[in-house]
Symmetry: C2
Subunit: 175 residues, 2 copies
DNA sequence: TGCCGATATGTTATATAGTAGCATATCTGC
DNA sequence: GCAGATATGCTACTATATAACATATCGGCA
């Protein structure tokens, strides 16, 4: 029998995620979020901030109900509406993205400026990389111009194997 | 009070869908499906064929549970697993596509040859247009080469207003 | 300071989407 | 006709998301 075991996506002991200091990513994202909300006169409440923090715990997309399990409400247990409302706010403010093909959410890596993005999801480590990919966006604009289609929203999602997982193939054991 | 009313997406009396004879689209799709399944030695059973027919009733994406409501089983009522199994088969055979951002399905317009596609969903008439968009696909390939990302699957979905709806704006009434 | 309207969260219930596991039926090759 | 493979029926369940209304909190202003 063949068993395939993938390495754990993150170290259990540290903020190291695929070899980078992820604490920096998270801190920066939260600081940017605070500033943007201040500038815009909208409120990054404790609940919204907590959801954003949980989303930024890794570069893996997280599902609404997994967030729900991890929310520590001041009293009782959190309900779906709570987390979905926080997600709606964060989406509106451009602080997170929804990965439609996963029904899951990731922190936006470029929330401080207007952008459009490709989302590259690794089917091994489950991390999602956001790439502005200007060339792709221009090609889409040209295509839509030909089609005379007035764009409101794009979702460009690619699934595959990221370079790190390609270089460190999964451990394979024979039982 | 302002009320906005969109024209009905299809004529109730005919196979005319946004001004084209849609019966031709459907007939061609079903014939192609029969041939492909024959060539491949897979079975387009009555259930699978019925689901494909229902999907091809229009160019609007249809949800699994709406299909379920419309399936006429030989006996009793259809259950979710029935329709999802038919959908799985049709997806595997490349006869339909899933629109991830809608949790809905459309018939593939190019099932007789290998292709990759953009899905343009009109938020007014709800029709979905599939476009091969070679330029976009090349741009994505270049981007993924830079990212050293090995692609397994793409979903490129755009929401907006199609040219037909842009030309025939919704009726607006004041009450 | 205390009240008011607006915003945010709590709570209950329900709608929508998708899967697991096992029984039964149908097909296909022998 | 029989056996194994494939497809469907069926029951139950899990997962994802929203509606509607009650309560709490915030922030400006009398
Ligand atoms: Zn990081
Ligand atoms: Zn972003
Ligand atoms: Zn048509
Ligand atoms: Zn297609």
């Amino acid at each position: 029998m063949q068993l395939t075991v993938f390495p754990a996506p993150t170290s259990p002991t540290a903020n190291l995620d695929h070899g980078h200091d992820h604490g920096g990513c998270r801190t920066k994202a939260l600081q940017t979020a605070e500033q943007l909300c201040n500038n815009r006169g909208v409120r990054l409440t404790p609940m919204r901030r907590q959801v954003l923090e949980l989303i930024w715990e890794s570069h893996r997309a997280i599902k609404a109900y997994d967030l729900l399990d991890r929310i520590k409400p001041t009293t009782g247990t959190a309900k779906p509406a709570t987390v979905y409302r926080a997600l709606d706010f964060l989406l509106e403010q451009g602080l997170i993205h929804k990965v439609e093909s996963l029904n899951a959410f990731i922190g936006c890596s470029f929330s401080d400026h207007q952008h459009q993005q490709l989302l590259l999801t690794c089917i091994r480590c489950l991390e999602v990389e956001e790439r502005p990919a200007a060339g792709v966006m221009e090609a889409i604009d040209r295509e839509l111009e030909q089609a005379a289609f007035i764009i409101h929203h794009k979702a460009i999602e690619i699934h595959g194997i990221c370079i790190r997982c390609a270089k460190h193939p999964p451990i394979t054991a024979t039982i």
